[in-house]
Every structure is written in C-alpha cells, then in structure tokens.
C-alpha cells in the first residue's frame, strides 16, 4: 500500500477549497504551491507578511527586483490591484481576522487543533517568523503536510510533542492520504484515497479518526 499524493497533488486539493475573492496567506515552502492550482474562474488575493497584497508568479531569472519579495525572500511580481503596506498593517490584517485562509506546513497537528511547525527542539538556531501570528486571526487555518514523517511516524497525534506554534488553531488538514477536519477536539475524516482502507489510514494516524456522515474519495488529477 504505497499510494499517496505528491506534494503538488496535496496543494491542488487545498486550492479547491479557496473561494473566488478570498484573501489568503500561504506559508513558506510546500504551502506556496497552492497558488499554482487555483481553479479556473477563481481569483484569490495572496498576502505576504512583508507587506504585499496580490503578488503573483516569480519573475524570469535575471529580472528580479529585490525590493519585491515574499516572506520566503523570493522575488515575486505584482498583479493588477496590488498594494504595499508596512509590517504593523500587515499583521493587523493577520491578527485582526481579515484573512480568509492561512495555509501552513506542519511537523505535528493534534486532535485538539494544536499545531507544531516552528521548532524541532532545543538544538540549532530557533526561528519563528510570522507563523505564531498567522495561526491566530485567519478565519480558516489549514495545514498541508505528508500524512506521516520521513520515518513513517504519524504527524497527526493526540497531543503534539514538539514546541507549539499555537493552541487549538487548525481547522482542516490536507495530507498525502486524506482530508481531515478538526472539530470538537477530534479528527473528523472527510476524504481518503479510495485505495486505502479505513484501518490502513487509522494505522498511520496517531489519534482516532471520527466519521460524521460519509467519507468521500480523495480524487486528485495527475500533476
């Protein structure tokens, strides 16, 4: 049983839930891929912490403007209707509840919605950036992640073991195997790969998966 979604496919699935006109912040790394898979006819407005609304694709190599970067310090371009603002306004958008969706990566997510995604422990140089702010304020805080770690251990747990980014903040998780909501202190399974049995999925999940209504097949195009 090795069927799993690629990171592009996880990003594609997350993109399907973003409404036309939504204001969205995508975390650095895997979440950035979500921008590539907006359904036709929908236009989300992407926010970056360092002070841009409605940025677009990276410019061609050699045409970078290094005053025009995203939070990952990568060069971006502007789309019509873009705006610049300073950091206090940027985080007013975040904390003030003005963003519709924030999509973040995760080391661990707990069934109570706790998220750990900034520190793997006391070794090395700690860095947090905007993650602790982003998990508070956005109307929906979603996580996209592989279902298990590189060593095959569950990332969805009863309680996080790593330092927390925020408590009770995650509302939906898109993984390489399933789509899971966090509701009422438990994981509620919404979609799973058809080739995977419920028992097989549960075996790779560190907390019980509840079922409310039905479980749909997680169907994603080849990407």
């Amino acid at each position: 049983m090795s069927a799993r979604l690629s990171s592009n496919q996880i990003a594609w699935r997350a993109a399907q839930d973003i409404a036309d006109g939504a204001y969205v912040n995508l975390g650095i790394g895997l979440p950035e891929k979500v921008a590539q898979y907006q359904p036709p006819g929908r236009e989300a407005i992407f926010h970056t912490e360092n002070g841009i609304l409605n940025f677009g694709e990276p410019p061609p190599k050699g045409e970078e403007d290094w005053d025009l970067i995203n939070a990952g310090k990568r060069a971006v371009t502007l789309k019509p209707g873009a705006a610049f603002f300073h950091h206090a306004d940027s985080f007013a958008m975040v904390r003030g509840g003005h963003l519709d969706v924030a999509i973040l990566g995760a080391y661990e997510v707990a069934e109570n919605g706790d998220l750990a995604n900034w520190s793997t422990g006391p070794k090395g140089v700690p860095a947090v950036g905007g993650a602790m702010d982003l998990v508070h304020g956005a109307k929906r805080v979603a996580v996209i992640t592989d279902h298990v770690t590189k060593d095959g251990k569950p990332k969805l747990l009863k309680r996080c073991t790593l330092p927390l980014t925020g408590v009770g903040c995650v509302t939906r998780i898109y993984t390489s195997l399933a789509v899971i909501d966090v509701a009422g202190g438990r994981f509620v399974l919404r979609e799973k790969l058809a080739s995977l049995s419920l028992d097989e999925l549960q075996a790779q999940t560190g907390a019980p998966l509840a079922i409310e209504g039905g479980v749909a097949d997680l169907v994603v195009p080849e990407l």
Binding site: G51, I52, H86, F91, V128, G130, M132, P163
Partner: protein
C-alpha cells in the same frame, strides 16, 4: 528646517557603546547597507560603538550589512523573528558558541512592539504565542473568552532606515516591499537616521503620498545608488565593499 547631514560618518555619529539600534529591512529589501557599513567603519577606526542591541527582523545574510555588523563583534544582543537566511553562518556560529544573545519574537509581535514604542503604548495584549514557549513568563489575560499574552513596547536610541525619497523636513516615501519595518522604526527611536535614494526640497513630495511624516525623522542623507543585499550576496561580496 533642513535635516540633511553631510556624510555617512555624520549620519551615524551619535551611536554609542551599549545603545539599542533598530535597523530597517526584511531580508535585503529596505536594509540600509551604507549606514550599517558606515557604523562598522567607525568601529574599525575607533573601537566604538560596541555592545549594541540590534532590532531587525532577521540576523543578516552573507558577510555584508547586518551580518557584517555582527561579524565585526559590535552586537551583544539581537532581537528578531527569523535569524535564518540563505547564508546565516555569521550569526549561527556566534549564537551556537554562546557569544551573542537572541530574543526571538514572533514577527507580528515584533512589528506591534515597535509600533507601540513609537505610539507611547507601554504594553498590549495579543493572541500570538499564547500557550507556546515564547509566552513563558509573560502575563496572560482573558478578554471576551479568549486568552491573550501581554507584550511590551520596544524603543531604540537610534533607528537606521532606508527610504526611496526624503525631503529636507524628513518626510519619506518607500519603494515596494522595502517599506516593511522602516516606518515603524522611524516612530520608535529617539533619533531616526534615513538614507534615501533621493533627497528633495520640502514641497517636492505630494503630501498625499507621504508614508512617514517628518516629525519621526531627525537626519537625512542622500545615497543615490544604494547597494542591495541580495545583489551583494549573489556576487559573494564582503564588507568592506570594494576593499
């Protein structure tokens, strides 16, 4: 009124040992490389100023700008949100060797602490970091059923800022995402020193487009063709430039 100073050396002349210095920029965007290098020049010539506390979002990249300031041994403590970069070797080695202090602050909290410092608000409550290691030791209060962490203002003796256009009264505009922390830091420092690509006469900036009003700015210097950290690092440049 004319806030122009004659040289980079004059611009950074009031920074003394042990002071707290805010430095604008997010990565290389909005980073006042020439002002930082002028401060290092002074340290190399006189041994001062040292023991600085520096407030910036990052911890420098490569061997120019903030990284060079840290590499010169002038920084005792760094207050920042993300001390990692493509080439963070300078800060990383000092930090892991226990030779520099780090106060790690979530990015939005850092921005708001600086804004509060400039606005005369000694403390505020934010949901950010509640229940995490970064809230340890801080007062917590509940408002309308939700828990918040008390954070204190941040102020500085001097802010080093990069603007696009300044007028002689210190009114500023910024360029693209080089704005970032710069307008906040202008408000939060006793003395704000600005390098601008262009310095114009009062009246030459449309008041409707002023981002930072001149009341927050004390010194202005034209640096017509400022270095950009990313370009310097792509060229593997090191402080001193051209040296």
């Amino acid at each position: 009124m004319d806030k122009r100073v004659a040289s980079l050396a004059d611009a950074v002349s009031t920074i003394e040992d042990g002071m707290t210095v805010m430095i604008g920029g997010f990565g290389g965007a909005g980073a006042p490389i020439e002002l930082i290098h002028a401060l290092i020049d002074r340290y190399r010539a006189t041994g001062h100023p040292g023991g600085l506390t520096v407030i910036n979002n990052n911890a420098g990249n490569g061997h120019v700008g903030l990284a060079a300031l840290i590499e010169a041994g002038m920084v005792r403590k760094l207050v920042c949100s993300f001390p990692r970069s493509a080439d963070p070797v300078v800060f990383t080695e000092l930090y892991l060797g226990g030779k520099i202090e780090l106060e790690l602050v979530p990015q939005g909290t850092l921005a708001e602490r600086i804004r509060a410092g400039g606005a005369g608000i000694p403390a505020f409550y934010t949901p950010t970091s509640f229940g995490t290691d970064l809230a340890k030791g801080k007062p917590v209060a509940e408002f309308d059923g939700r828990s918040y962490v008390q954070e204190r203002w941040l102020k500085a003796d001097v802010a080093l800022v990069k603007a696009e256009t300044a007028d002689t009264h210190g009114n500023l505009t910024f360029r693209a995402a080089a704005r970032n922390f710069n307008p906040l830091m202008c408000m939060a420092a006793a003395e704000t020193v600005v390098q601008a690509r262009r310095v114009v006469e009062a009246g030459a900036i449309d008041p409707e487009t002023v981002v930072t009003p001149g009341i927050f700015v004390q010194k202005v210097l034209e640096v017509p063709d400022p270095a950009q950290e990313e370009d310097l690092n792509l060229a593997h440049a090191r402080y001193p430039l051209g040296g």
